[in-house]
Symmetry: C2
Subunit: 460 residues, 2 copies
Amino acid sequence: MINPDLRYNMPVESPNRCCVVVPGLLVPVRPRVQVLEDMAVVIEGEKITEVIPRSEARRRHADADFVDLPGHVLLPGFINMHTHSAMTLLRGYADDLDLQTWLNRYIWPVEKKFIGPEFINDGTDLAIAEMLRGGTTCFNDFYFFPEITAKTAIRAGMRASIGLPILDFPTVWAGNADEYLEKGLEVSACWEDEPLISIALAPHSPYSVDDRTLTRVADYSRSLDIPVHMHVLESSWEVGESQRSHGKPTLGRLADLGLLNRRLLAVHMTQLDDVDLVTLSDAGVNVIHCPESNLKLGNGFCPVSRLLDHNINVSLGTDGAASNNDLDLLAECRIATLLAKGVASDPRVLNAFQALEMLTINAAKALGRASELGSIEAGKLADMCALRLDALCTTPMYDVVSQLIYSAASRQVSHVWVSGRLLLEDGEFLHMDIAHITDRARRWASRISSGTRPTGVQVL
Amino acid sequence: MINPDLRYNMPVESPNRCCVVVPGLLVPVRPRVQVLEDMAVVIEGEKITEVIPRSEARRRHADADFVDLPGHVLLPGFINMHTHSAMTLLRGYADDLDLQTWLNRYIWPVEKKFIGPEFINDGTDLAIAEMLRGGTTCFNDFYFFPEITAKTAIRAGMRASIGLPILDFPTVWAGNADEYLEKGLEVSACWEDEPLISIALAPHSPYSVDDRTLTRVADYSRSLDIPVHMHVLESSWEVGESQRSHGKPTLGRLADLGLLNRRLLAVHMTQLDDVDLVTLSDAGVNVIHCPESNLKLGNGFCPVSRLLDHNINVSLGTDGAASNNDLDLLAECRIATLLAKGVASDPRVLNAFQALEMLTINAAKALGRASELGSIEAGKLADMCALRLDALCTTPMYDVVSQLIYSAASRQVSHVWVSGRLLLEDGEFLHMDIAHITDRARRWASRISSGTRPTGVQVL
């Protein structure tokens, strides 16, 4: 199924070699609000085993491989909580259009004509490269052919939460809701022993999946204890649609179907009233905020500061590159922080450290993996990134966390580790063939441009 | 007055040497909505003399210096319409605070203690370097010691519109409004023969300058035909303040004082009603939009799409790095575009090309210099930038203007020319000593950190 020239180029490495990373500054995220100097992070195999003073590390681990990073800050890897990875191949294909034109004349016709395993593989490869380059070490994906997304992530050494897509209508991937669900659960069974891959159920949205199927989703989510990744209340249209089709509001319906709980990853959430905030808080629902996508599609504003006031767990997603148009999570975080202040008319809300938590530990919590991911602490998986701090835009420096959130560019990311394995070193990919990946992306664009650019009205 | 170790390191170059730039793609901005292939831009001295097919350029200018840039897009240089350049030295010094705390406890005490010619020189150098690195070729500045800002810009080869600051209260620069005005006009007389420098009058805001002085400003602006650069209606507080202090709304007062005309560069403008839009349109006022600063300070939303509906000329500014926290105009433009769609609840407003116009030709118009700046056309000054298009985040490419506005990072800027002089080549500065500039910035930060970090309440 996979094109034979797709290269599995991850070398076999000694799995338990001890490595000590010695950054200029360490922002572990947990313990909270700390910037540490003169510290070292010890990695053995896939885990962080110690966070100790440098001098102690040099004494106790003299034989280890040392990675000295003066002038850098070391952070937990960022977690992108909402992607349609393979859509990088449609980046910039159609912009500045109303939603219906965008979907009917551009996105759906292209998806119908081109999506298949090879498209998914090539688009996901490009997405993973872009994400790694910007410090992202894990992505929570939602697209067709999830088994290809998983395979591509494993090959790249990237961590992923793979959504099993579920819709009421047929697509290239499945014919009806039952088939989506069964096919998804079937392919996901292969990843049980894959440490880089976890799964989520991904019913598209409350308006595109019926009660019967959502009840099955809720049952599976409970019995398997896995997240439900769903677009919820993305636009104002959904508010009326739920009343029209189901005689109740969206959140009331999801509650009745058993979906409003700590396993729900509710993406977008731009249409919330005061009562909704209490409901979400009580239920422990996780909100995934995608500010660039919400703005670009004119869908409204997620009330982030009010969510935080209600102790609702908020993390960040870029959404797909067809509606963003990049996978730069640090830039997304900056917009999220600025927008939260703007929407609240208060410069004090969502401070720089809270923003950094949204990029890291909050996302780990949402995935139900706060004990393994989201901070640099002994016992956690070694998913980390380092950024150079010597760029013009981060000079001078008074507060490293402010500088990261309000000034740093993702291009300053120099090193990235996933599960203890160094994937990016001094900005260079160690295990991905970038020329090959970008070349394939360009070939897709050229096929897509010549094959589908609408010349007249093409309603699917 | 200037520290003797400040180096004037711009080499003397042959001024009229012919240079031909041959980019992969050319987006000249004017003529409108065109992406040109196989074109060459001929520069002689400080001007663009021809935009012609490559083959013709190679035939007719065989002896010229050719700069071949395959895989790049060539654009007019970006114009940053609102800066307080030297405040780069305070980047990240104080964030996430309410306005009064930020000003009273952080910004004003530091300004009082540290601002002087050397601070302005060093901060402006850092700002210019950051701006050039991101494709900005001209900045419209507003700060103390404008003669130092001008000198620093000239030394760097950067184009600047220098605001002459005017306030009713004493600062390090002058004691009262008359002194500000006279001192400003006096120092600016030195730049009459400086092609890189133009001037503007910069009364701080309607609430900090009285009627008598604003009338003088209006008179000078008219007689000298120079812009008035002013913060106007930045926050909701100003709406009530104008009624309380003057018994009329801000725009009514400015109209009465003779300031509401095509020379006014009204910065921020977050508090506008329907009548205001008509007033501004009829008067030909230019709006300078600073979305990141407005968001970060929680000051409200400038209604950009409605301004455009009223044919009001809108361009972009980053504001100072103390409230942004960078001078990345391309990123500012992305936020402006996304935010305009979000605020209008319409993904079609402020499309990618309109956004590019805000970065270039609209700014040139606002400065009264649309015949010289803002597009790549024969007869205009050769202020241009080139970006590499081979980054992951701009791959693949369907539409170069969409890609620029929604995906490209300012780090992709490779070449920058100001007045025909190449200042940045393949991302490297040709005439600025960056290590020296960043070293000086770090020394300032260390002095400022140790000297002023508030330990208790310090109200100025």
